[in-house]
């Protein structure tokens, strides 16, 4: 099983492949497209992540020690970003998610490249995921 750290390293490698940010965005969008959509009836307002410019729904549940995430977004770039985060965190021990260091964001240059509002959105997503993880840690 890969760890949170390993998954981040893989992501960084994936993005290193692209020189242009248009291509990186393309990759983010593809990740968004391949994320399983939340069924409509699950998209209730309780799941909305506060602080994103577009709507992002995030659902979490426990599976043994691990935490499982499901998410959706109305804008595809936001969906791609949450897909990346799910890629890193999904089915990892809740207590590790809660304290994880997310170096890949820096390394990919994601935060610098996002607008302040989008960077805020990204931070809100991470906060919400860690919050769930904390809540689900016994």
């Amino acid at each position: 099983m890969t760890t949170i750290k390993q998954r981040q390293e893989e992501l960084v490698k994936e993005f290193e492949f692209f020189d242009e940010w248009m291509d990186k965005y393309h990759h983010i969008i593809e990740m968004g497209k391949s994320l399983n959509a939340l069924p409509e009836q699950k998209k209730n307002d309780n799941l909305l992540v506060q602080g994103c410019q577009s709507k992002v729904w995030l659902h979490a549940e426990k599976s043994g020690e691990n935490i499982l995430f499901q998410a959706d977004a109305d804008a595809i770039i936001a969906k791609g970003i949450i897909a990346m985060l799910i890629d890193v965190f999904n089915n990892q021990p809740a207590k590790e998610v809660a304290v994880a260091n997310l170096g890949f964001i820096e390394e990919i240059g994601l935060k610098d490249h996002l607008s302040p509002t989008r960077a805020n959105g990204l931070m809100s997503m991470i906060k919400q995921m860690k919050f769930y993880a904390l809540a689900l840690t016994d």
Binding site: W21, M22, Y25, I29, Q53, A75, I76, I77
Partner: protein, 405 residues
């Protein structure tokens, strides 16, 4: 003389830059316009040579600064054809102007009365009236719009009636570009004796305005949308109307006498200009007006009309492209959605390609609700945009759509 867009562009150095390695295509003009060198220089020149507080100062710098802002007051008067320069009040912007009137009307509106706005207003011409209605118990009504984003005037007599205290509406919609039937609305308002206010945010940069020909009671502009500095607006009001309204803010030079017990207010325009004015902004705005008049507002409007037409025709060829607001009578704004994409994603990808547009609700949530959409992508044009920029925009849009679908 033909319209020389290249020489105009040379006056706007900001346009000559790359964004993410691509030439900047600035199409967010309805939000704010770029500033010509003449405006930037007027500001520097003020601070380098004659900055001082105005009015009541006996020293030379203060006199120069006072002369300069009073000269601009007179230029604004001439520009919109007001009767006297005391009817020109400098504010922070349109939002401030409308709040000033809506607050003042608290003293003259009763709960039997109503205020009429329209379905296609900017929040700044909605919320102040909601606040007024809350304070006074008056009713807030609106003229509806149709699926083209045009105001519907049938039934207007039921909406604007003898209890209407104020009819407030924009000349040109910032979200849709619709040019509203100003004369027809004013005529109805006049018939029942209602006061009238026109939000000229998008008139200032795009249309000729004559407040006396309109016989409108209040009219308002924002400098920053007219190639001038931020933080400054204009409120025009007929003297007889301004005189019955209490001031919005107290302090500074807006008083005649002050004791610790009570104050009496100064005459127009000072009564509505509390505090140190935005002197630099007024001077910069004067330079902007001069620049607009040099090019000619009609020439600018004609140029923008061509851009609007060209971009509408070209973009409509794109599969799934849908214009939001397709009134026959439009100015300078192309608002749209594209099937299967979110406006926000389009905005991000256009930006990656150097194209600056606005996405979202454009501070007109009721319009978006009426169209049952979350928002639009809005490309809006100014005097310095070119046909070539529309081509770049369209190509970037197509590429974005391909990526998103």
């Amino acid at each position: 003389m033909s319209y020389d867009v290249q020489s105009i562009r040379q006056q706007f150095p900001i346009l000559n830059q790359k964004i993410h390695g691509r030439p900047l295509v600035y199409l967010d003009n309805a939000a704010t316009a770029q500033k010509p060198i003449a405006v930037i220089d007027a500001i520097s020149n003020y601070y380098l040579n004659y900055n001082a507080n105005v009015h009541r100062g006996v020293h030379t710098l203060s006199q120069r600064a006072t002369d300069a802002i009073e000269a601009v007051r007179e230029e604004v008067r001439a520009h919109i054809n007001a009767e006297e320069s005391a009817e020109i009040i400098f504010t922070q912007g349109i939002t401030d102007s409308i709040n000033t009137i809506a607050f003042g009307m608290g003293a003259v509106v009763s709960k039997e009365q109503n205020i009429v706005i329209t379905a296609i207003e900017h929040h700044s011409n909605i919320v102040p009236w909601q606040m007024l209605c809350k304070r006074t118990g008056a009713e807030l009504r609106h003229l509806p719009m149709n699926e083209h984003g045009e105001l519907v005037l049938e039934g207007i007599e039921e909406i604007i009636d003898e209890n209407t205290a104020m009819v407030a509406f924009n000349h040109i919609s910032n979200a849709l570009g619709t040019i509203n039937p100003v004369e027809a609305i004013l005529e109805h308002a006049e018939k029942v004796g209602a006061w009238t206010l026109i939000d000229g945010a998008q008139s200032g940069p795009h249309a000729k305005v004559d407040v006396r020909a309109w016989n409108v009671d209040f009219f308002t502009l924002s400098s920053h949308k007219m190639y001038g500095p931020t933080g400054l607006g204009v409120l025009y009001g007929k003297r007889e109307k301004l005189e019955v309204l209490p001031p919005f803010q107290g302090g500074g030079e807006m008083i005649a006498t002050v004791t610790l017990e009570e104050s009496t207010y100064a005459g127009l325009p000072h009564k509505f200009e509390a505090g140190t004015p935005h002197i630099e902004g007024i001077i910069g705005f004067g330079a902007a007006l001069k620049y607009i008049n040099e090019i000619g507002i009609k020439a600018i409007a004609a140029h923008e009309k061509k851009l609007l037409k060209y971009s509408t025709v070209e973009c409509s060829k794109i599969d799934g492209f849908k214009v939001i607001g397709d009134s026959k009578n439009k100015a300078s704004v192309l608002s749209f959605i594209v099937d299967g994409t979110h406006p926000y994603d389009i905005g991000v990808l256009l930006d990656q390609q150097g194209v600056a547009v606005r996405t979202g609700q454009h501070c007109t949530q009721p319009i978006m609700d009426a169209f049952c959409i979350d928002g639009t992508v809005r490309a809006s044009f100014a005097m310095y945009n070119t046909k070539k920029e529309i081509d770049l925009f369209k190509a970037a849009l197509e590429k974005s759509i391909t990526m998103l679908r």
